[in-house]
Amino acid sequence: MLKLSEYQAAIKGLNHTPDHDPAAIQISGAYVCDMLSDVMGNAKPGQAWITIMKHLNTVAVASLAGLPAIIFAKGNQPDGAVVEKASAEGICLISSDLDTFSLAGILYSMLNA
């Protein structure tokens, strides 16, 4: 397990949901995918979700699948409606300029350090 705040620092991430403190969120790993059905079918509760998808359904999927955080790769920024929904659903949204491969690699190294 890893504190989301430590991962956020490592990827120079920006938290869009100040209601949710990344220091209070533990992640067990991540699921990396842009297909929503694949995420719903295979992501495990407690994992972060690394993706470039940033529309409202992304938040719905994270909520249904029990994923506490979404990490947007390549500088993707969610719009206001998405942030609002995530805040209400208890999902932490973080953007990073890094690409998906780097985001996954950094998390993998931290979890296996």
Binding site: M35, S37, D38, M40, M53, H55, S63, L64, A65
Partner: protein, 177 residues
Amino acid sequence: MRDFAAARSEMAEYWHIRLGLEDPVKKFFSQAPEADVTLEADIPEKDFNSAGRGSAEVKNLLKRLGVDPEVLRRVAVAAYEAEINVAAHSLGGSMTSNIHPELIHMVFQDNGPGIADIEQAMIPGFSTADEMVRELGFGAGLGLPNIQKNADALHISSEKGDSTCLEIIIYFKNDGQ
């Protein structure tokens, strides 16, 4: 009481019942008991912001009722996939969730145009989704397989040119009691 043989002769039908749960599922459909609580949700065509409201409502209610988190996740994922299917592939429809003491029975009824080949639709990766649906990250051909994976019972009746009715049963306890 539902006449299984008659239904089969009129429409294309698909059944999947989790191993060991055949008896309670058949008993449920034959007795058709009245639900303790029924929730209704509209699913407008191609409205992917509304799709998911019904699932969220059901999830919140079951959470308040103290349903096990893993069961809750299965219900939510199956319901959301089914809602997305109605929004993506039909002219719109509705979701009815019947909550009983030991199970949830969800019925997704749409206004057509029906599934041409249900067996083909069940194959992971097969999809007829359009570009708009795919751009949202749906349409990978995993919806129905995901529903089947999470449901204790799945029943689909459909015919090309007619409506589709998809029913899901999920028990709150593993043994179906």
